[in-house]
Amino acid sequence: MNEKSAISINSVDKVFNEAREDEVIALSNIDLDIKEGEFVSLIGPSGCGKSTLLRLIGDLLEPTKGSVEVFGKSAHQARVDQDYGMVFQHAGLFDWRRVSANIELPLELHGWSKADRSTRSQEMLDLVKLPDFGSYYPRQLSGGMQQRVSIARALSFKPKLLLMDEPFGALDEMTREHMQIELLRIWEETGTTVVFVTHSIPESAFLSNRVVVLSPRPGQVHSVIDVDLGKRSESTRQDSNFFAAATEIREALRAVEEQE
């Protein structure tokens, strides 16, 4: 990890339906800096604006006030430059494309040649440990496998920033833990910056370098918790440092609840 800034969020407000009766202040006065190669989780009760914050970073929404800079340029420019890979809870694979064609979709849109595309999609399938599933249709795969394809697709064009919105939220506990290990391995191999939205305390503690705890109505940064578990493996889940980090996050979330 180096010290170069990947994301810089400065005094950002996000208001939906501004100046209307159903006006909602989703985020208020958010300041956050994320360094290149960092793995940062956003956690908080529902309605705290964590998904909104992710979409502001990804230029899927525009801030009402303040600025979002990604790799020293506007979020919009970063999106146009294809710096983003996105993964959602809904795997969002296209039924009509075979698995390899799904992974190749962003490459197609970015104008890669057919040969380069198929080489790359095979590399990605190997990376997510589905080397033989390229010719399947997404619906023929289990939920966990679909989510792995979705990650492969997001990483296929080597985006500098991976934005993940509860990507493992729909998976069963065991699959979820396997996927976390996979994600960490991929993160180490690729050196991508990751912003990860979750509402699972152990998940955020296990994966992140830093956990940003948000409080709702309006969404604000309550606290930022540093986590240092070194290189993680399955045994890290029994580690006292892991429990300590989870406890710290839990206490921050309790404090958020009491605020209300």
Partner: protein, 266 residues
């Protein structure tokens, strides 16, 4: 895989075939056994005889009616799909048009046939084709518009994160997403077009059409000939339905791949 495919096809075909033949046999037996009079319910065998005796008339009539059905089908599909695209482009149009289309679709459109005859003339083919087209239009429009607009929000966000514009999203996401919806509509409207064409012919028009053959023979108490005409029309409707199924198979291969897997798993 191919053997599995073949097996599953055979196992799909034989039960309705056996039951269909069984019903025909029961029908034949019941008419003979209970001495039902031919004008009330002719035997399948006498319908078959009349079918052969009147083959030339029936063949010609189903050809003429078929032209009405297919012509109307084509007009209705083109119009339905075109409107669906417009409804997708303009949200206001979609919000206004779709509920209206659903309401109109629930009304008996074929009842308009005599009015269409008055507008467009009873002798030409325009009136009847327009009746068919109107019947076809609404299901095609409603379903296609649904397929074009009901795309998961994450899928749109994903495309936008790749810096894809509206046109690319339409081409890569909305249109393929709408294909199964369209295929569904096609399966409904293909046989419906034959029904609409025949019912429209009940209200007048040229005499070499299936609708006229049915009404005129029923009027003369030649019910076996009327039944033969109905049988020909059914066969025609069925073949259009099978055609729609084939189009569905070819245009949405991902659906049949998944379905096949599900049937073989059972």
């Amino acid at each position: 895989m191919n053997i599995v495919k073949l097996k599953s096809r055979v196992s799909i075909i034989w039960p309705p075939l056996v039951i269909g033949i069984g019903i025909l046999a029961l029908w034949e037996g019941a008419v003979v056994l209970f001495e039902i009079q031919e004008f009330l319910l002719p035997k399948p065998s006498s319908i078959w005889t009349e079918l052969q005796n009147n083959w030339e008339i029936l063949r010609h009539a189903s050809w003429e009616t078929g032209k009405m059905a297919l012509g109307g089908l084509a007009i209705g599909i083109v119009a339905g799909v075109t409107f669906a695209f417009f409804a997708t482009l303009f949200r206001f149009l979609n919000e206004g048009l779709t509920p209206l289309a659903v309401a109109v679709n629930a009304t008996p459109i074929v009842a308009l046939a005599p009015i269409f005859n008055a507008w467009f003339g009873v002798t030409g083919s325009v009136s009847n084709q327009l009746v068919v087209a109107t019947v076809v239009f609404f299901p095609v429009f409603i379903n296609t518009a649904k397929g074009l607009t009901e795309v998961h929000v994450n899928e749109i966000e994903l495309m936008r994160s790749y810096a894809a514009g509206d046109w690319t999203i339409l081409k890569e996401v909305r249109i393929p997403n709408a294909l199964p919806f369209f295929a569904n509509a096609l399966r409904v409207v293909a046989p419906l077009s034959v029904i609409a064409a025949i019912v429209a012919e009940y209200f007048g028009g040229p005499q070499d059409r299936v609708g006229y053959v049915i009404t005129s023979n029923a009027g003369l108490a030649r019910y076996d000939v009327a039944w033969a005409a109905i049988a020909v029309a059914s066969a025609f409707g069925l073949s259009l339905f099978v055609g729609a199924l084939l189009i569905e198979r070819v245009s949405t291969p991902w659906k049949s791949a998944v379905q096949l897997e599900e049937t073989t798993k059972k």
